[in-house]
Symmetry: C2
Subunit: 148 residues, 2 copies
C-alpha cells in the first residue's frame, strides 16, 4: 500500500471516530513509514527529535501510536523484557517473528498451517480470536556461526 493511500484511510478513520485531522498525526505516519524497520516508541521519539524539524512531542507520539494501533497500521509485535517493539503493518500480510536474543535480528515468517491450527484450537474452545502473536526466541544463523 502506498503511504498516501494509508494516510487517506487514516483520515477516514479519524473522521469516522470524530477525531481531528492534524498535521502532527500525519507527519508521525510519514516518519514511521520512512523509518522502515521495527521500532520502539522511545527510539521513534528520539529519532523524530533529532530531525531538523521536530514534528511532535513525546506525548503526541505516544498518543498517535495508540491511535495507529486502533486503526491497525501498527502493531505490538515483540515483547521482550520491558521492551515493546512495534512494526508498521500497513498493507503487509500477517506474519510472525523469529527474534535473535544475541544480536536482536528479527526474521519474519508466515505459515498458513499454523494459522489454520490456531483457528481450530479457538473453535474447540468456542473462543473468538481477535489477534495473536507468535514469538520464537533463539539464536540466528550468523550468531550461531560466530560461536564456533
Amino acid at each position: 500500500m502506498q503511504v498516501d493511500e494509508l494516510k487517506s484511510r487514516f483520515e477516514q478513520f479519524l473522521k469516522q471516530k470524530g477525531y481531528k485531522i492534524t498535521k502532527g498525526r500525519f507527519e508521525i505516519v510519514d516518519k514511521i513509514a520512512s523509518y522502515g524497520k521495527h521500532f520502539e516508541i522511545e527510539e521513534l521519539v528520539r529519532w523524530i527529535a533529532n530531525q531538523n524539524k521536530t514534528v511532535a512531542s513525546r506525548s503526541t507520539v505516544y498518543r498517535t501510536v495508540r491511535l495507529l494501533q486502533d486503526f491497525g497500521a501498527i502493531r505490538e509485535v515483540i515483547k521482550l523484557g520491558n521492551r515493546t517493539i512495534y512494526e508498521f503493518v500497513a498493507g503487509k500480510p500477517h506474519h510472525e517473528h523469529l527474534i535473535c536474543v544475541e544480536c536482536g535480528k528479527i526474521i519474519e515468517f508466515y505459515k498458513d498451517e499454523i494459522e489454520e491450527l490456531q483457528d481450530k484450537v479457538c473453535e474447540e474452545h468456542s473462543f473468538t480470536p481477535l489477534n495473536h502473536r507468535l514469538e520464537i526466541f533463539g539464536i540466528c544463523k550468523d550468531c550461531m556461526e560466530k560461536r564456533t
Copy 2:
C-alpha cells in the same frame, strides 16, 4: 512434580551457580506454588505482604522471580499492554494461551502440530529456537454469550 522435589532441584541449581540457600528464596517458591494461578509480580508482592508472616521484601521477590525464570520454574507467558503475567511451570508440560480481552480469563492449550511447524520454520531459517510464546487474544465463550 511435587513442590518438594522442585525445591530440591532449585537448591542444586543455586549451589551449582554458587548462590546461597536462603530461607526467603524457598518461601517465595512455596508462595508461588500455593498461589495456584497466573500472576503478576506486584500482585504477588502484595499477596505476600498481606500474609501474617512476611517472607520477603519487594526487591527480594523481584530478584527471586528472575532466578526462578533462569532456573525454569516460572515463565513470562503473557505480555499485554504494560502487564507481564507469569506462570508457575514446574513440571507442567509446555502449552500456549488463549486470553480473553474482556474478562481476562486465560485458557491453556497445546497443539503438537503447531510445535512441529515451528521447528520446521526454524530449520528453514537455520534458526536455533530457545523458547517461544503464542498468545491468542480474543473473546471467550462466556463473554460472547453475555454480549447478546
